[in-house]
Structures are given as C-alpha cells and as structure tokens.
Assembly symmetry: C2
Homo-oligomer: 362 residues x 2
C-alpha cells in the first residue's frame, strides 16, 4: 500500500469486521435477518466478508447484474422501478435471480403486471411506504396502498420502508423513535394489505441509524443496512458510531504549505473525497473530513477545510499553527459520507496490500 | 440514446462546438495559444474535437498517461508534484512526452533536480505563483521564488498562475480585474526570475472565467481553460455563459410523485449529478441543478432540490404546482459543476447516439 500513488481509498478490514459483527449481534438478538445494502461498498469482496452469500439490496440494476455474476441469487432493487428498465429485470429473473422490484403507484404496478403477463414471468414487487416524508412511498392511510396491492395481484411480495430522516436524529431518543416509527409504519402497512385480503409476506425496514437503534422489530421480516460496513463522520455525528469505527479513509500526500494562512496542501481534492458536506448541518462541521496520520491515528484539530478537484486544504479548527507535516508526508482523510467517497474510487486498498475492485455505473 | 437506461451523461456537440469556437476566437484576437485543460471532460474525443492534438493540461498522471497513449506529446501536470510520483513522470518523458511539472517550494525543486540527476533526465518545471490566495503557489515578493528558480537550474521552464478566486467574481468588472491581476502577477513573477538572471520561457495563466474576461495578455505565452467546453450553472451564475450554453446534462426518468409536497421523484440522485452545490453561495441557488425536457428545453422554475444516492427530488422554486410529468417521462438535469458531474460517469452519450468514453482514476 505504501508504494501506491495517492490519492487512493484505504479499507481497514479490522474495523470492517468489527462493524459487521456489531450489527450481526444486534440483529441476532432482535431475531430479524439482514438484507445487506451493497450500494455503499459496491464490492463483492466486502459483501462476502460481512454477509457471505446472504440476501442483498442494490441501488442500481448494474449492481444487481454484477452481484448476480458473483453468484448472488436474492436481490432487492430498492429504487422505484422505471418501466423502461423491466427488460433487464426480466433478464435477471430468467437467470435464476430472485429480483424484487419496488414501486409506489398504480401506474408502475400496471406497467409491471402488463409486462410480466407478456413475458410470462412473476416479478416480485414491494410497495414502498412513506414513514417520515423523506422521499418516495405511499402513506399507510392512502387508498392507493390497497389499490396498488390489488393491481399487483400475484406479483405482490410485501412492503418496504426506509427511515431516511433518521440521518437527522441527533439523540439516542430521537434515533430510537425513528426506529420505532419505521417498524410501526411498515407493520401497519402490512396490516392494511392483509385487511384488504391481500398477502404481505415481506415487511422490510432499514437504514444504518435505525438498524442500530431498534429494540423491537416484531412483525418485521428483514432489516436493510449498508453504510454501517464503513461508517463515516455523518454517522459519528449522530452518535451511531465513533470516529474510531471508520473503516474507509482516503490516503493523501502533502504537496505544499501556505504558512501565512496556516494551510497544508495535499493531493487529495474533491475528486478523491467527493463533494459531500454531510456534516455541514451537524453540531460539529467536519469540513471535507478529519485528518489522521498514515497509520490511521487522528491528528487533533486538523480538518480538511477546502477542496478543489485535485487539491485538499488542511487547517486547524481554531486557527492554531498546523503541525509540522513536510512535503511527501502521507495522511488519511476520514470522510463525511462513505457512500459518496467510495464512489470516487475504482478499488479499495487493504492495509494488507490486497486490492478489492469496486463496481460502478447504472 | 433513447434506448439507454437512465441516468446517463448527455453531451450536446453543437453546444460543445459553439463553446470551443467562442474561446478559440477570443484567444486568436488576444494572440495567445490555448493549453486545453482536460480535467473537465477527461475524454480524448472531446479534446480532439475542440483542440486537435494541441498542448494540454492534466490534473492527474493517469490523465497524462491516457492522453499520451492517444498521441498527445505536450502535457502540463498542473498539480504540485508529490516526489513519490517522479518515476511516472520519468516514464512519460522517456516515451517522448514533454511532461512539465509544477511546484512551489525549494523542497520539491530539490527532489526534482536530484531525481533528474540520478535518472539523467531534464524534467521541465514551472513555479506556481499565488495570484489571489486561492490555493498553492509562492507570492511574487517571496524570496523563495528566485531561490526555487536557482535550485531548478536547467529544469526551470517558467511560471504558472491560476485565478481560482475568479469563480467568485460576480460582475464583468470583477471578472476583468481578476483576469488583469492573473496576467500581471504571472508577468511580474517572470520578471523577478529574469532579474535574477534566470530564464522564464513559459508564462502560463488561466481559468475559464479569466480566459473569457481578459483583454490584454501581453507577456503571457499560454492560456489554460477546461470547464468552458461544457460550461455549467456556476459559470452561468457569474455571467461567463448562459444556461443555453451548457453542453453537458444528465438524463433522468420520472419514477414517482409526492403530490402533497409538490415533488417529482426521478432516478437521478447525487450518484448521477455529484454532490456539488456550487451555486449555493451564488445570488440564485440552483439546488442540484435546473431541469429541462428530453430535448433540452428548460422547464421554467423547476429545480432539482433534493438528492439521495439514486433519487432526485424536483420541485418548483416558488412552491407553485409542478407541471404534469408522468412516470416514465425523460428529463435532463443541467448541473452546477460540469467537472464534478462528468466525474460520476464513465461515458458521454451524444445526441447522435455515439458514445465517447471517459477516463478516471489517478
């Protein structure tokens, strides 16, 4: 790893294993299986390490196809289906992959059923439920919910919700409440379908914050989480992990100084960290990331405060003099948002020297 | 192009040609040659179209190697050199590429000269000059400037400056002043070297805003610009172009609605647009981008106001009802920052149906 030119993504498998074990233990206690979201790592090697061969969630059909090539056979595509994409869904089903789609409108349900009829396929579909006004989904009280179920008929596989607003829950109480609400909303939606005489086999919930805060998942059949394999400063900012849990960092090299301004300049800009400023609205704004030495030990008060495409600017939080970091010094940046930072890289460099490829595209 | 699944990057070559012709005409009038910055497109096809075979600027050695493979022989690597990367510089020089490096400290100059001596090579080097406190570079008045020149000896090729603060110049007067300052600072730095008895063949300036605002480039030997091939909303926000000049957009599809909240949901999230919020600090905050129909015509007042990894949220600026955009409707997002948005994609889809690959990595 020390011979690779910076910037590059560093994956600490000790921390990865620790993060994986923590959620595995939690879910074992709660008695609900994990459906790993692979959108964070987009790496078959990471998925095998933390959840060997188990059911997965994907954010793109390209991920579904990539993991299918690697032998994964139970895949949930958790973005509302664009009817144009149904031919690729059919191709995956015909390869023997149980590919489940997501939708939240009668229009999509009609597109799925009419396509499935023409192709003589069953396309398992979950109805997306809105539990917190974060993004897509129908409300539990919306008459569209049973209507979509009826249109889907045999294709109806269950319901799914995602507590996206839990990323803005800043106390253990708020996190617990978000988890409880996510579970309660999903179970209530399943009850609406069942009361209408419709089946609801799958009740899927999840996000990294709620997966770590839930205490009762009665009625839930699976939990989705992805970010937790790496964690990041946003998750540390809401208290779901500590900065010592971050498994993904970006290796950079000092290439200059502006001593009058107390700046250290590195060769890691936003191309290496992403433009994500997810901690900007948190109690502590971590800029583009915190700074550690080459071994991963945090350098107190040093923050990546500026980024252009291939330049990072490091400075101290309080304007105190920056530590002595000569040109050529290797450092590591702890990122705001692991999903966005990982997406800037084609591979992960393990501390052991091994390289794990990363998939991308749509 | 209509058969490709969204999201994908769309490149309008009519607008690309128009943008290229505009700067070509300007620089012809000013009598200074262009050194195209390829960091925005990272595409040999784009570079050939706008500046066939001419000298280029790169932001990574991976770009230098990629363009060298395509026959480019005059390449400036415009990020301060990390001494660890000198072996790759040497390999490019030995392939017959005139690869020029950049530096702003005696430490780097010593690393370059001692490596060059050992390898028996001349490594042309420019000294980076700070003209506006934006990033790296030495001040014209800094005694380090002639000192670096003396350390470089025969490797000294000239000076370079970049008016990075011109991205925050919001009036024609401010843009013109930034351009004049960029030119004056570079020429003054060259004069410092010459007064010390050192040669200064190259006087390199540039940024997209200053390249379009300069009226006198006496003493300058080349202008660098890259973003202008695509332009973007940040450039439109400072008046360097109009929204009608944007050659790069992202095709997305409507996958849902939240009618109570006046939201249209698409399958293009930050993975497709990037997390760049460059217009956030401008007079008009364009969210994650403006919205056009599939043909590229702007839909008035519709803005991409929210983004998660694979979801975009479109809403109106004033809360007025969103237009009727049924599920399956194709749209295009005009991005804040073309360099960051292009980086999320591996290829450009031309309106003609042709596909141009894009390079990435370090």
């Amino acid at each position: 790893m020390t011979t690779v030119d910076t910037p590059f993504a560093v994956l600490d498998t000790d921390r990865l294993d620790r993060n994986a074990a923590r959620l595995r233990d939690r879910l074992a206690t709660l008695g609900v299986p994990l459906r790993l979201h692979v959108k964070t790592s987009k790496s078959v090697d990471v998925a095998r390490r933390v959840h060997d061969g188990g059911p997965i969630t994907v954010s793109t059909l390209a991920e579904a196809e990539h993991f299918a090539d690697a032998g994964y056979r139970d895949v949930l595509y958790a973005v509302g289906i664009d009817p144009h994409k149904l031919p690729r869904v059919a191709a995956l089903l015909r390869r023997g992959v149980r590919l489940t789609v997501l939708l939240d409108s009668p229009t999509q349900a009609e597109a799925v059923t009419s396509f499935a009829r023409k192709e003589d396929l069953r396309i398992p579909a979950l109805i997306e439920i809105d539990c917190d006004g974060h993004r897509g989904g129908v409300a539990v009280t919306d008459p569209a919910l049973p209507e979509i179920g009826r249109v889907l008929g045999d294709h109806l596989a269950g319901v799914l919700t995602h507590a996206g607003e839990s990323y803005f829950a800043y106390t253990p109480e708020a996190l617990h409440k978000a988890a409880q609400n996510e579970r309660d909303t999903a179970v209530a939606a399943a009850d609406v379908l069942r009361a209408a005489g419709l089946p609801c086999e799958i009740v899927s919930v999840g996000s990294t914050p709620t997966a770590h805060a839930a205490t009762d998942l009665t009625g839930v059949t699976e939990v989705r989480a992805g970010n937790y394999v790496f964690f990041d400063l946003v998750m540390a900012g809401i208290g779901v992990c500590t900065t010592d849990d971050l498994a993904l960092t970006v290796a950079v090299t000092v290439i200059g100084h502006q001593r009058d301004r107390n700046w250290v300049i590195t060769d890691g800009g936003w191309m290496a960290t992403s433009r994500d400023r997810g901690t900007q609205a948190q109690a502590v704004d971590q800029g583009y990331g915190l700074v550690a030495d080459a071994g991963g030990t945090l350098i107190p008060d040093l923050v990546m405060t500026g980024a252009s495409q291939e330049h990072g600017v490091l400075s101290t939080r309080d304007g105190a003099p920056v530590p002595d970091l000569p040109i050529g010094t290797r450092l590591r940046i702890l990122p705001n948002h692991a999903c966005a930072t990982a997406a800037q890289h084609d591979r992960y460099h393990l501390v052991s020297g091994e390289v794990w490829p990363r998939h991308r595209g749509w």
